[in-house]
Symmetry: C2
Subunit: 437 residues, 2 copies
Amino acid sequence: MKTPANPAPRVVVVGGGFAGMAATRALARSGARVTLVDRRNHHLFQPLLYQVATAALSPGDIAWPIRAMLRGQANVRVLLSRVVGVDMAAQCVKLEDDEIPFDHLVLATGARHAYFGRDEWEERAPGLKKILDATHIREKLLMAFERAEALDDPVATKRLLTFVVIGGGPTGVEMAGAIAELAQHTLARDFRIIDPASARVVLIQAGARLLETFPERLSENARRELVELGVEVRLGERVNALTDDGVQVGDEDIPSANVVWAAGVMASPAGKWLGAAVDRAGRVIVEPDLSVPGHPNVFVIGDTASAVRANGEPVPGIAPAAKQMGTHVGRTLAARIVGGREPGAFRYRHLGNLATIGRTAAVADFGWIKMTGHIAWVLWAIVHVFFLIGWRNRLVVALSWFWSYVTYGRGVRLVTAGEEVAREIETHGAHAGGRAA
Amino acid sequence: MKTPANPAPRVVVVGGGFAGMAATRALARSGARVTLVDRRNHHLFQPLLYQVATAALSPGDIAWPIRAMLRGQANVRVLLSRVVGVDMAAQCVKLEDDEIPFDHLVLATGARHAYFGRDEWEERAPGLKKILDATHIREKLLMAFERAEALDDPVATKRLLTFVVIGGGPTGVEMAGAIAELAQHTLARDFRIIDPASARVVLIQAGARLLETFPERLSENARRELVELGVEVRLGERVNALTDDGVQVGDEDIPSANVVWAAGVMASPAGKWLGAAVDRAGRVIVEPDLSVPGHPNVFVIGDTASAVRANGEPVPGIAPAAKQMGTHVGRTLAARIVGGREPGAFRYRHLGNLATIGRTAAVADFGWIKMTGHIAWVLWAIVHVFFLIGWRNRLVVALSWFWSYVTYGRGVRLVTAGEEVAREIETHGAHAGGRAA
């Protein structure tokens, strides 16, 4: 779509996550014509995605249409399309069947799970980045109990009811805790042949402790809380192979029908599109103002950027950092366009780290204060409800949590593509066509 | 799964819908060993499925795990499996890889959309019976607006924004009203290139009036309300063909990317399994006590049964009728097992008919009183919330409706399989593999 020459500068933002939305919003009164491109129609509140995977929330509770969020911002056009590259010479973004010229470009395309060169592991150990990942994991988890009940065979049951989570960061810790609770409480009285509480949940962490970005004391607290929930926490161990049967850890084979990957992420291919220098995780190494070296009108932000704090530490890949980067770049461009003073170097303000362990415990690190247990969980819940989009979602999520808290229930135990998922967990690998939710 | 001889009679119930659940519950204190088989893990509140298809509710809000519902009933085993037939000689139900012997059998396997011998229409005009149908229709509806915005081509836009609903019963009326509101209110301010309010919604009814099971006055009221919402209601017209481009009605071609089927249902193949006589809609013609002629220990209930009221009229295919049949058969079997007096012939008690038209109007017919407009809508909403399973779902649905009522919003505007759905609405036919939600 060629646009005729026009004095209002054209800003293209790719990605409607935390970073891209913040950048777009900061451009509200800039006079720029903004086009926000995303291959999905919704902004996703990724920190709660594990709750969709473990049947506590519905996808709709943590996703919001990007165009509804930007409805009131008249200078923004939202486009649902897939970006396939950037033509730096022509200064345009290439879509599958079209292109969008830009004067300024903001890439906020996020990250995917990384399998460290073992891409074939993906179909055996799905990761958790988008809604279809979460609903697929949910179907597999629930279907494992169903198949065990139907088959009534001790060996099959043992494998079906062994859940392995690979990676001891916040997502891995949260998944392991939620699966343990699902098995021990939510499903406890629902079966006649199998005992769901006999399920084995194994959390494998290559590093020496869980939650490596947290202080050691909180890592140890998280480990203890998980063990109390019945999770087998294995530190300093490494996955050697994923087989049809399960996971090989060191020399040990763990038969398992459900392996979840939470061990690492790789940035989107924005670096390749730009021909820019990237770090080991594929993130574009950016200038202090988050622009790409040699291209002052092109910015990379969020999980796709490798930015450094004033103290030399990397800016972490968490939602508040993405939002701050987005706002920074939006303000920089707004100043450039209206002729104001640009804010200059990006300065990350660390607000803290939070992770939950099951239904009632969490760890929180705000630097000046560290919290654990129930109070940290309440804080976690308040923060997460507050940052959801729209009061409908806030109320529904708060209500669902309150209900789960009182009843141990999980309201969204849906299996919609049962037969395909059954084939998948029994034979492993080879995804059936119909992922569903 | 062969079960050793045992004095407690074995009842197999196939289907966890309204009828099957009611039968199972009525057997609670019968002493029977009940096995409930369903190919899905959830009981679905089908009357609200159109609200999932039109982005107002999440699938999890209107579905509930069958085993959680029957958790407290110790004599019931729930099995997620697909029934492929019944061996009447051996008195067992055949699963894909197993069989279940029974002393008494209750078939409550429901109905599917029927295309009157034009099965190839299904992929061009999906119907609305299960969750994947609803989320698929939802993605197609939302994606039509997205593609129109992206393509910016008047001819394509006209086709993409023409929505045709075939069938003027309650589902058709409710779908047409909801699509019109989605276009005119929910999406009104979200696009920059297209005007969603210019969407054309056509409701095609072969019969002379809408809602043929309602009194004429209410049919006319529903038609008027739909016209007020901007729906083009076409009575006494017949669809001749579904083409790659759209719908042929009489001699007229209506280009449309979104055709929804609500024109008829066909019972599940239970009749074939039994070798029993069926009516034109494939429903098994049952005895007054709902048993199958010649097989006093086999019952067919719900949408799979062709039962007749005392006044000679057929028992309607609605939720209250299914529940009443289930309870009747459950009580009959319980009496038979404990040696009490069997209730005999089934007597259907008609409670009334309800249908909504959009956000604030409905028609209600209770025989002695007929209601229209806002008051009927309030009644409809109360009845539907009341009959949902569990207070979490009741609260979430009530909250979502209240929120929609105030804001015109629809909280679940999710497109998760965008590219596949885009291909489908642009080329029609040939379902992409990944239906999603």
